[in-house]
């Protein structure tokens, strides 16, 4: 894209070729009114209020592309009249219940009505009965709806659920006299508005989607509201606390909206979570899982004294990756001072994977981020249950396909109806567990430049190919002419009579043919569909930007080292840009900051995990710690960005730094460690208070800082071991959470009540001997647990999943590293 200069209202504005005028204006702080347009999504053209004049012609700024030297006027006499008429139309029959509307003044209808100076109404139409609807976690009031279709657009273009659509409204047609008297665009917009209303694609009564709530967030009026927030608080009473979501590795920017708890209690309470929906989209866990704070009345001095004693006794600290960089750094400092062993198996696996990857790539970090994935037009995901491991990676997957006329491949043993429902340009390949190596070899085979690949690898890949003669049946179309009798009305007499007519039809005919084809055994190993080669050719047409997302299945794979090297080869020798999904919130940060050990010692201090002495932000330990929404610090995200987060709620107990201080580390506040994070690993020596957390008008992310990727010494050896033919077959279980659940913290949130158990797809459940709700015993080589069977319509196929968010289930005891394992499921 080349840079061009356009002229908006006499101002010279720099932008890129093909950028929409509206975005160019917004990036340069020029105001063009617009209601239905969402940055990062396709123009809807529902509101038509973004009318501008470009080179003397009226165009819609949201879908007209900027051209070199274009002259744009944002407001002419005619445009002003159109805009006013449009706002008058929006106000027709809009209930005057602003006093109780949950939008409480954050209303674009109100704003634009005032902006356009609407002080009287010229239009009228008979209203239709529009009952408000309870869709579960979302409440829809069609009376307030202005059918801008932002909810539909975001659900389709960003989220990928396609759960909402416009349905017929019914009611009278617009009075004919208005067609003559009204401005043209206003009439066209009203005509469309008057026919539609928002409904559910499924046709059911309740929303059955991945429940992200993004539709309610983007709603410009109070038509779509989060059910939990209905009539809870006026928006103007809430204070915004800028933060970073700590549930998964996406590290989305959020703001906690807080206010006093009630009329008696002045302590802050989080009422909702908001996001800059033009630039970042949240998942259901981020949006609804906000009240996981650890409420502590006061400092428990006895427990603190025990904690200090325990630290003196202990030789190991075990922790999960749901901690800030600063806390990780405190652990590392304690290790350096007292020689503790630091144990975190999941971060250790990721750390090892990254190190193995670096040996070939020569860089300490993977090369790309989700921002680039959004811009890709061919995107591949492998080794991850995309929608639950990192919802934002899934949004990038969907967004790149829907916005860039893109296509995608999804490699995973678990069949996922949500991913398959994104587009027909997604090919989902369900390979056998343990066959991830074959997938990467296939990617190398299909996309790498073979001439540059290490000779041994190229040779090995070639060994999968063989020539084969097959008989193909081809359909040839032939023209057949026949004479048929048709009944027709004679135009002269007006009577029906039979006429003979010649009719030619195309008839298909099958011919057998013998052809030489190249057979690729890798395709067979991964279980690609029969016509994969042809469909891939179609998918790859006119594709330029390639993106590869790999995930946590690989890090704990028995052949993880091999996989890491293969991933590095794919990145190095093909056009793919690589993103790795860190398994938990701050796995990337922890793996960079801490030197992790494999084995535990004799006395363990557990942080958010069970130990001989347990520090816990969940409220179930020996000493309480603050939860992520009660502390400030930084989190390292999948985008390799160090994002600051702030304390939304007060915390009255001891924090980890208090223990560190008592043990002789000198920093007064936890955030004093932000500037001390290891620069040799890519961190920057920046004060916490100087870290920004915002988006610019042009969408630039100004949050914290991006980690530097360090050069790592490579060895000339780029050989990779051949793939192991081992695969899991039979009754398989997979360790994955349902969407909206990540950890014990999301489990604590009141709006995310989810039952833990053995999740089975409806078809699997039907073919098995069990019914939903049965208690079953799941037994593997590592252990056994008893759990309830839950039917899950967000998965398909014959692999049951077990979640990690509920520690009562103790599902992790069934697995030894790798996320898939063979299991027997028996009734109790």
């Amino acid at each position: 894209m080349s840079n061009i200069t356009i002229n908006i209202d006499g101002r010279q504005v720099q932008t890129t070729e093909g950028e929409f005028i509206l975005n160019a204006a917004r990036a340069n702080d020029i105001f063009i009114p617009a209601i239905c347009y969402l940055t990062r999504c396709s123009p809807t053209l529902a509101c038509r209020i973004c009318l501008v004049e470009a080179d003397g012609k009226q165009v819609y700024a949201c879908n007209a592309k900027a051209k070199e030297g274009m002259n744009i006027t944002t407001s002419t006499e005619n445009i002003v009249a159109e805009r006013r008429a449009i706002m008058e139309v929006y106000d027709v029959n809009h209930p005057l219940q602003c006093g109780v509307c949950d939008q409480s003044g954050e209303c674009e209808l109100q704003n634009y009505t005032l902006e356009m100076g609407v002080d009287s109404q010229s239009y009228a139409i008979k209203d239709v009965a529009r009952e408000s609807k309870d869709w579960g976690h979302i409440h829809y009031d069609p009376g307030l709806c202005i059918v801008c279709e932002r909810c539909v657009t975001v659900c389709k273009d960003m989220i990928g659920d396609n759960s909402l659509k416009t349905v017929a409204r019914g009611g009278d047609a617009i009075d004919a006299e208005f067609k003559e008297s009204m401005p043209k665009d206003a009439y066209a917009m009203w005509n469309k508005l008057n026919k539609s209303i928002i409904g559910l694609t499924s046709g059911e009564e309740m929303l059955d989607c991945t429940s992200c709530g993004e539709c309610a967030a983007v709603c410009p009026v109070g038509a779509l509201v989060d059910t939990h927030f209905m009539y809870e608080s006026n928006a103007w009473e809430l204070r915004q606390i800028p933060a970073t979501c700590g549930h998964c590795s996406a590290g989305c920017q959020i703001s906690y909206d807080v206010k006093h708890t009630d009329i008696e209690n002045s302590d802050d309470k989080i009422y909702r979570v908001m996001n800059e929906w033009n630039y970042v989209s949240l998942c259901g866990a981020g949006r609804y899982g906000f009240d996981y704070q650890n409420e502590v009345k006061a400092k428990d001095e006895t427990a603190f004294a025990y904690a200090l004693e325990a630290f003196k006794k202990a030789d190991t600290i075990e922790f999960t990756s749901t901690i800030t960089n600063e806390e990780a750094f405190i652990f590392q400092s304690l290790k350096e001072k007292f020689g503790y062993k630091l144990v975190n198996s999941e971060a250790k696996a990721f750390q090892t994977f990254l190190n193995n990857y670096s040996e070939i790539s020569g860089k300490s970090l993977y090369g790309s981020d989700l921002h680039e994935a959004h811009g890709a037009d061919f995107i591949v995901s492998m080794g991850t249950a995309l929608k639950s491991d990192n919802p934002n990676a899934r949004y990038a997957f969907n967004n790149s396909i829907s916005m860039n006329k893109g296509a995608g491949l999804y490699f995973h043993p678990l069949k996922d109806p949500v991913i398959e429902g994104i587009s027909k340009n997604v090919v989902s390949i369900n390979h056998a567990p343990l066959q991830e190596e074959a997938v990467l070899y296939l990617l190398l085979d299909l996309f790498a430049e073979k001439s540059k690949l290490p000779a041994s690898v190229a040779e090995y890949i070639a060994s999968f190919h063989s020539e084969k003669t097959i008989t193909v049946e081809e359909t040839v179309k032939e023209k057949v002419v026949e004479i048929v009798k048709v009944t027709k009305v004679n135009e002269e007499t007006g009577e029906e009579e039979e006429v003979e007519e010649e009719k030619s039809t195309m008839v298909s005919k099958k011919i057998s043919k013998e052809v030489q084809v190249d057979e690729n055994r890798l395709l067979e190993i991964v279980g690609a569909p029969a016509n994969f080669t042809e469909s891939l050719e179609k998918l790859l047409a006119k594709k330029e930007n390639f993106s590869l997302i790999v995930g946590p299945d690989l890090y704990t794979h028995p052949n993880a080292k091999n996989l890491a090297r293969l991933v590095a080869l794919v990145e190095k020798y093909s056009a793919f840009k690589l993103v790795m999904i860190p398994s938990l919130s701050n796995t990337l940060g922890v793996s960079l900051i801490c030197e992790l050990d494999d084995a535990k010692g004799s006395y363990t201090i557990g942080y958010n995990t069970k130990g001989d002495f347990t520090l816990s932000a969940l409220g179930n330990g020996d000493l309480d710690m603050p939860a992520m929404n009660q502390q400030e610090g930084t989190l390292t995200s999948i985008d390799k960005r160090v994002n600051p987060t702030n304390a939304a709620l007060p915390y009255k107990g001891y924090v980890l730094n208090d223990i560190a201080k008592a043990l002789g580390l000198a920093s007064k506040f936890t955030v004093d460690y932000t500037q001390k994070l290891p620069t040799c690993k890519g961190f920057k020596a920046q004060l916490f208070d100087n870290l920004p957390n915002r988006y610019e008008n042009d969408g630039t992310e100004v949050r914290g800082y991006v980690l530097d990727s360090m050069d790592v010494k490579t060895f000339s050896d780029e050989d990779v071991a051949p793939l192991s033919e081992a695969k899991l077959e039979g009754s398989i279980i997979y360790l994955a959470n349902p969407v909206r659940q990540f950890s014990e913290f999301t489990n604590k949130a009141t709006n995310l009540k989810e039952e833990a158990g053995v999740y089975m797809s409806a078809s699997f459940l039907e073919s098995s001997d069990f019914n939903e709700g049965d208690m079953v015993k799941v037994k593997t080589g590592s252990g056994e647990v008893t759990a309830k069977i839950i039917s899950d319509n967000k998965i398909e196929g014959e692999i049951a999943t077990l979640p990690t968010f509920d520690s009562n289930l103790n599902s992790q005891s069934l697995f030894s590293g790798y996320r898939f394992t063979l299991a027997t499921i028996q009734g109790v």
């Binding site: 006093g99 109780v100 409480s104 002080d119 009287s120 109404q121 010229s122 239009y123 009228a124 139409i125 008979k126 408000s132 009278d172 009075d175 209905m230 009539y231 809870e232 608080s233 006026n234 103007w236 009473e237 006093h260 009630d262 009329i263």
Partner: protein
């Protein structure tokens, strides 16, 4: 224009100066004034007036606190919550504007969704220890629900004392007896309001 009229600072020609003797300047003069005042008998004039009024039994004293003066409709004393005349339901819709506009931050309310999917005010309190009785809450109220009443006694044992929603709400029997007072202060409907409203066309 002449500025003569501005120079004449006599508000009215009816004004006159009171005839007051000059103050004595020496000791002898002061002595004479004391003697003159002492024997003038003005004391008895006063005593006579009191005695006369006592005998007439025409007493105008307001027997506070047993008796109270009637108070003007615009007086701003302790708040009241009004009911709708027709149905008797509470006028307050829970919009929260009074809470927002309150400059001394003394109003706090809680709202929730009720079983009829309407907004319900579950808790409402005004801290009268902080309230400065400015009248903004009554002025901003879109429903004429919160108004000022005539109860001006605010003495209390504590600096902070609160009134709750139920205390302020017109009792239903009072409403039925037609005893709810309409507020006429700021924010109340002014005369000729109808003439100033632009009509919205209706397609019915």
């Amino acid at each position: 224009m002449s500025i003569e009229q501005f120079k004449n600072r006599n508000v009215s020609d009816d004004y006159f100066l009171v005839d007051i003797e000059d103050y004595p300047t020496d000791g002898w003069g002061q002595f004479k004034r004391v003697v003159k005042r002492t024997f003038k008998g003005e004391l008895f004039v006063g005593l006579w007036v009191v005695l006369r009024e006592m005998i007439k039994f025409d007493i105008h004293t307001v027997q506070y606190p047993k008796e109270k003066m009637p108070i003007g409709p615009r007086y701003r004393a302790v708040h009241e919550m009004k009911r709708l005349w027709e149905s008797g339901t509470e006028r307050c819709i829970g919009c929260g504007l009074c809470e927002k506009i309150c400059i001394s931050n003394c109003i706090r309310m809680e709202t929730k969704i009720d079983e009829n999917s309407r907004k319900e005010v579950s808790e409402y309190s005004i801290n009268l220890g902080r309230c400065i009785f400015c009248g903004y809450c009554a002025e901003v109220c879109p429903e004429l629900a919160i108004t000022h009443g005539a109860r001006y006694e605010n003495a209390s044992e504590q600096r902070a004392h609160f009134v709750m929603y139920e205390d302020m709400l017109t009792p239903i029997d009072m409403l039925k007896a037609g005893q709810q007072q309409e507020f006429e202060g700021f924010g109340a409907i002014t005369p000729h309001e109808d003439e100033r409203v632009k009509k919205t066309p209706l397609a019915y």
